[in-house]
Amino acid sequence: MLEFNLVSAPPLAGYDQRFDGVNLTAPTDLAIVSLALPLGGEAAAEKSVKAAYGAALPGIGKSALSKDGSARLVRLSPDAAFVIFTHTTPDAEPFVAKKIKGAAYTTDQTDVWTGLEIAGPRARTALERICPIDLHPASFATGDAARTTMEHLGTLIIRTGDDAFLLLSGSSSAKSFLHAIETSIHNTA
């Protein structure tokens, strides 16, 4: 049986490039699990999440780091949120389900998405060419999250630092997404 050992190969694994004023990196072992709050069980689910992560589920369009900083909770809609964290093995969903004691419906989203972190003083200038969202520091505070489209591709953008953004887009179009971001960096260099 071991002759068929499977190798993990996410589409942008290992990508890490430095450009003038911008760093572009595909985070390693990025795991994403969606939480759906049961109808009528919202309060219990929120309580369970808070107990598990030491941080309350933030409001819609916001994200919050867990108390130990290892996981980011992103609120997408009244009943939906993502937990984003680093996890090596393909069992992120049961891992989270156990952590929150099954208080919310969980779905593994790890392989649905591809992640790119764009950071540096020129990150916003590059994103201007592709991102319809207003990323001005006063309009899009650290921790803010928004769903949008970039070059026809659905994208979740989260501001993770002063000049740092985590971009999540569909894994099947990862190469087109990377090309679009790289082109934006090149065009504004």
């Binding site: 049986m1 071991l2 002759e3 068929f4 050992n5 499977l6 190798v7 993990s8 190969a9 996410p10 589409p11 969606s34 759906a36 049961p38 109808l39 009528g40 009943d79 939906a80 393909p90 069992d91 419906y105 779905t107 593994d108 989203q109 790890t110 392989d111 649905v112 998405w113 201007e128 060419r129 592709i130 991102c131 319809p132 969202i133 207003d134 001005h136 309009s139 070059e151 026809h152 591709l153 569909g170 894994s171 099947s172 179009s173 990862a174 190469k175 087109s176 997404f177 090309h179 679009a180 082109t183 934006s184 090149h186 065009n187 260099a189």
Partner: protein, 982 residues
């Protein structure tokens, strides 16, 4: 010294010389010049030929409104036709050529058309090329096309790149003239986020072209100081070379930024960027455009707008002539005379239509009151002008001012109609502006300097106060209002020769009068009949005089005559900029399946399916064409085992206590009692009862389902279910999330499918026929512990499974499956073999679920459960959709087995004529069946289920074919379904 007309002063950098060529002739200019100012400096008055009559033309204006001075820039693939010399920034090495002539510019063979002018008046084409009809396409149109179009394309791919982008601001200020700068300063000082956009490379607008003072310094110096202050503000973004070309909904503006047009090379960067600007408020400070007066032969090179002459003198240090006359109906023309004289240029006469004293003292100039120019002399350049009195005045330049029109265009982009203001003889913005927009300065009819500066500040302050900012208390910059009286004169009736109104389209006063006589009296009809106001300048200098002449004819007021609707773009936008990055392989993003790399290395030919690239077939050496590969893939799959990447099918994770009830409502057939560990085929209807999508849904646990949709409808089905969840079933506990990209899913089909999977699925999982029967599903592990999902479903009709692993393992999984399948001669198969096998099995796909067919048509009428409600159930019960003679999906085979069936053929009963009235149905899908050795088809035919064995004709008028076909069961292979249960 080639620059015979270069003066001192102006805002060009004389310390540097730029070399350029015009029609191959070497010329020189300086940084800060436009091509037009440099041509004039070099004494080049003749720059092009007119569109229709090939009349010699020069430079009329100094801005984006230029109708005449259209040139071709650059060479080779970079060649760009129809660019305006007046806004082309000069750079070293620029090559420009004139256009629209055969032979040289000076001796254009096509100038003969000017002699034929009496036959070429308004409506000529409409009247002449009506008959005979057959001549249009082959003779008339090619001939007209050949002589039309001004410049020429390179006919090569555009080597430049373009980009798009998104900007956001509190206040967008459009135009950086006095009003715009004043507005931007006020808003910037308040802390609001401001974007100031100007089409010029040097912001300042008319301040750069005039000698008027602001705050005790020259207008140009004040503009430079204002720009310096704005540039130092973090909250202000200054965008030069940027035209705001359109006002769209919700405060969104389109803008074109020309980033490298002023450079010899783009250096690999986008030449232009098309911006979408999201503004909370906007101030339109687009200034005004001077209008000419129409008189006989008013189009000769050397006849220019007076304000433009002033621009060339004051801003560029260039005089357009050495012996200048001024023809004006207002005070403004006098300043041209004064500024020329101040620079030592001879101004011989000031011809004023008014019977009024001199506005100012112009040394050496004779003031002729109550007079007008009615004709001119000088074929390739002005030599003299003739007054209505008959007096002839020698001149090489005539500066004409007919007053100024506010640039109201963007106020009309959402159907706003301008209002006529009699005191300034011009249209000003009406009351119904695009939401969030306010207008300031000359664009608003405040045509004098102090008024524009004050209005810019005040309007901006009102706009930002509206947004909650505290306006800066700083007063408006100080200036004086220059004299600005004028009278309304549009054309000189005494002129006997042709008086040009629209120089770009060669429309004369006479053409407009003819349009009136022939009944084309609405301004929109006038435009279409005469072509007035079309092409690159969109009639910026022509529209208002033309409307005034039409108003004269009809006896209506200007207000009642109105303007044509101004639409975006304000100035031309290159197609490349509109396309942006969307060209070639970057036209749309690609989605790749998890096994794409493996497929690429194993002979796959890919086909675009939506954004997906799917393997269509896998060619092997020696195969002569796709059919060889596809036939082999089908035969080997049916003979042993084949593997197909089916990741592209939509996957939706459905969870919740009410998930089963939700599915029961969404699907036409029952799902409420689907046992855990089972999969069911499901059919969705639209609200109108027509079939929407089909697929399978697996129950993974009591409250957890996994739905599969067709590839094409993956997004649509998800969106629709989200609508049902939120709007129709808000009380249900049900949650949806797409996992399409998350799982690499492979169909493993054929008699050896289980044997192959047994080597991959970990031993702990029972996949025997008893332990894991047809339509079973479950979570398993593969290859030593990797989590996976296994579904026993079959699209091919064979013993088949679909196995899914997290997408990151997809490429590795296909390798494992192929390796495990070596002993069974496993083959990968593509979408073609998939299609052949589903036709052989009689499964409906997109060709059959075409948005017009019902469950009854598909032979699935029994699936619409009578025991429960579902979307589409009520309207599916309509009598028309349940007729006995409704079309039914059946199979077809050619009576002559060697014949190839043609999809799209219509069925006609034997003996009937092939007419619409006798149409019995149509062939939806055809394939060559390697299993049967002949062509087979699926199709809809009236009462097909009762007609098996009948012979009908399949007729395709498009292919001009007809053949006899026999109606058979749609299930060509294994009709009892024994294989898939094996």
């Amino acid at each position: 010294m080639t620059q015979v007309n270069r003066l001192t002063g102006g805002q060009v950098d004389r310390s540097q010389t730029l070399n350029f060529t015009f029609n191959g002739k070497a010329m020189q200019g300086h940084p800060g010049d436009t091509l037009a100012s440099a041509l004039l400096a070099n004494g080049q008055r003749l720059v092009g030929r007119s569109f229709k009559y090939h009349r010699p033309r020069g430079i009329l204006t100094s801005g984006s409104e230029e109708p005449n001075a259209l040139v071709q820039l650059r060479s080779g693939a970079h060649q760009e036709p129809n660019t305006r010399a007046t806004v082309t920034e000069l750079f070293d090495g620029l090559t420009a050529t004139s256009q629209n002539h055969r032979g040289s510019l000076e001796h254009d063979l096509m100038a003969v058309t000017d002699l034929m002018a009496p036959f070429l008046s308004a409506g000529f084409y409409y009247k002449t090329f009506m008959w005979p009809k057959a001549f249009w396409e082959k003779l008339y149109e090619p001939a007209i096309r050949k002589s039309a179009g001004l410049g020429r394309l390179s006919m090569q791919d555009d080597p430049d790149s373009y980009d798009k982008g998104f900007l956001h601001c509190d206040l967008l200020v459009i135009g950086a003239g006095p009003a715009g700068l004043s507005a931007a300063l006020a808003a910037g000082r308040s802390g609001a986020r401001v974007i100031l956009a100007d089409e010029d490379f040097a912001p300042g607008g008319r301040l750069n072209a005039e000698t008027l003072e602001v705050d005790g310094m020259s207008g140009a110096d004040w503009a430079a100081a204002a720009i310096a202050e704005l540039s130092a503000m973090d909250n202000v973004r200054l965008m030069t070379r940027t035209t705001v070309y359109g006002a769209y909904d919700h405060g969104i503006y389109g803008a074109l930024e020309r980033r490298t047009d002023h450079l010899a090379t783009s250096d690999g960067k986008p030449r232009q960027v098309l911006w979408r600007i999201y503004s909370k408020r906007a101030v339109l400070a687009a200034g005004s455009t001077e209008r000419p007066i129409a008189f006989g032969n008013n189009d000769r090179p050397g006849i220019m707008l007076a304000g433009a002459v002033r621009t060339y003198v004051n801003r560029y240090g260039v005089t357009p002539g050495q012996q200048v006359a001024v023809f004006t109906n207002n005070d403004d023309g006098w300043r041209t005379a004064a500024d020329l004289a101040a620079n030592g240029v001879a101004v011989t006469n000031i011809i004023d239509t008014r019977d009024a004293p001199a506005v100012c003292d112009v040394p050496g100039a004779r003031h002729i009151r109550n007079a007008a120019v009615m004709d001119t002399v000088g074929r390739k350049g002005l030599k003299s002008v003739t007054l209505t009195s008959g007096q002839v005045i020698p001149a090489d330049c005539l500066a004409v001012s007919g007053g100024w029109n506010p640039n109201v265009h963007l106020t009309c982009h959402q159907r706003g109609r301008p209002t006529w203001r009699e005191d300034i003889h011009a249209f000003v913005p009406g009351g119904d502006l695009p939401p969030g927009m306010a207008v300031a300065g000359a664009a608003n009819g405040s045509l004098t300097l102090a008024a524009a500066l004050a209005e810019g500040r005040n309007v901006a302050n009102a706009q930002i106060k509206d947004l909650g900012f505290t306006a800066s208390r700083k007063a408006a910059p100080k200036a004086e209002d220059e004299p600005s009286d004028g009278m309304a004169i549009w054309h000189i009736p005494e002129s006997k020769n042709r008086a040009w109104v629209d120089q770009q389209n060669d429309v004369t006063v006479k053409d407009i009068k003819q349009s009136y006589r022939e009944g084309f009296r609405s301004v929109e009809h006038l435009k279409r009949y005469t072509t007035l106001g079309m092409a690159t300048d969109q009639g910026k200098t022509a529209n208002i005089p033309a409307l005034a002449i039409m108003a004269e004819c009809t006896g209506k007021s200007l207000q009642d005559t109105g303007t044509t609707i101004f639409r975006p773009p304000y100035t031309p936008i290159p197609m490349g900029a509109l396309a942006g990055r969307a060209r070639g392989k970057d036209f749309r993003p690609f989605r790749l399946t998890p096994s794409h790399d493996w497929a690429s290395k194993n002979g796959a030919t890919f086909v675009e399916v939506g954004n997906w690239l799917r393997a269509q077939w896998f060619a092997r050496p020696g195969e002569q064409g796709w059919r060889d590969s596809v036939d082999r893939e089908v035969e080997m799959t049916r003979g042993s085992v084949g593997i197909c990447d089916v990741t592209t099918l939509g996957k939706i994770d459905i969870q919740g206590k009410d998930a089963a009830d939700f599915l029961n409502f969404v699907y036409a057939n029952a799902f409420g009692k689907l046992p855990v560990g089972k999969v069911r085929y499901g059919l969705m209807l639209r609200e109108d009862g027509i079939c929407y999508d089909d697929g399978t849904t697996a129950r993974m646990s009591e409250n957890h389902f996994v739905m599969t949709t067709t590839t094409a409808n993956a997004v649509l089905v998800f969106r629709r279910m989200e609508f049902v969840r939120q709007c129709l079933c808000p009380d249900m506990d049900v949650h949806l999330i797409s996992t399409t990209d998350g799982w690499a899913q492979f169909a493993v089909a054929g008699p050896n499918a289980r044997n192959l999977l047994r080597k991959v699925v970990d031993e702990a999982h029972d996949i025997s026929n008893e332990g894991f029967p047809f339509m079973a599903c479950g979570e398993v592990t593969v290859c030593g512990g990797t989590p996976a999902r296994l579904f026993r479903i079959s699209f091919s009709g064979e013993l088949a499974y679909e196995v899914a692993v997290p997408a990151r393992y997809g490429n590795s999984m296909i390798e494992a499956l192929m390796k495990a399948g070596e002993e069974f001669d496993a083959v990968p198969y593509g979408t073609e073999a998939l299609g052949v096998m589903r036709i052989e099995k009689g499964h409906a796909a997109g060709n059959e679920l075409n948005g017009q067919t019902t469950a009854l048509n598909l032979g699935l009428g029994g699936m619409v459960s009578s025991k429960k409600d579902c979307i589409g159930k009520t309207l599916a019960a309509r009598p028309e959709m349940n007729r006995d003679d409704a079309i039914r999906l059946v199979g077809f085979r050619p009576v002559d087995r060697s014949v190839k069936l043609i999809a799209g053929s219509h069925f006609i009963n034997k003996g009937d004529d092939a007419t619409m009235a006798n149409d019995q149905g149509w062939m939806t899908s055809v394939a060559y069946s390697p299993s049967l050795g002949h062509s087979i088809g699926l199709g809809f035919i009236k009462e097909g289920h009762n007609r098996k064995g009948e012979i009908v004709r399949a007729v395709s008028p498009i292919h001009d074919t007809e053949m006899e076909v026999e109606i058979v069961s749609a299930h060509f292979i294994d009709p009892e379904g024994e294989r898939l249960r094996a």
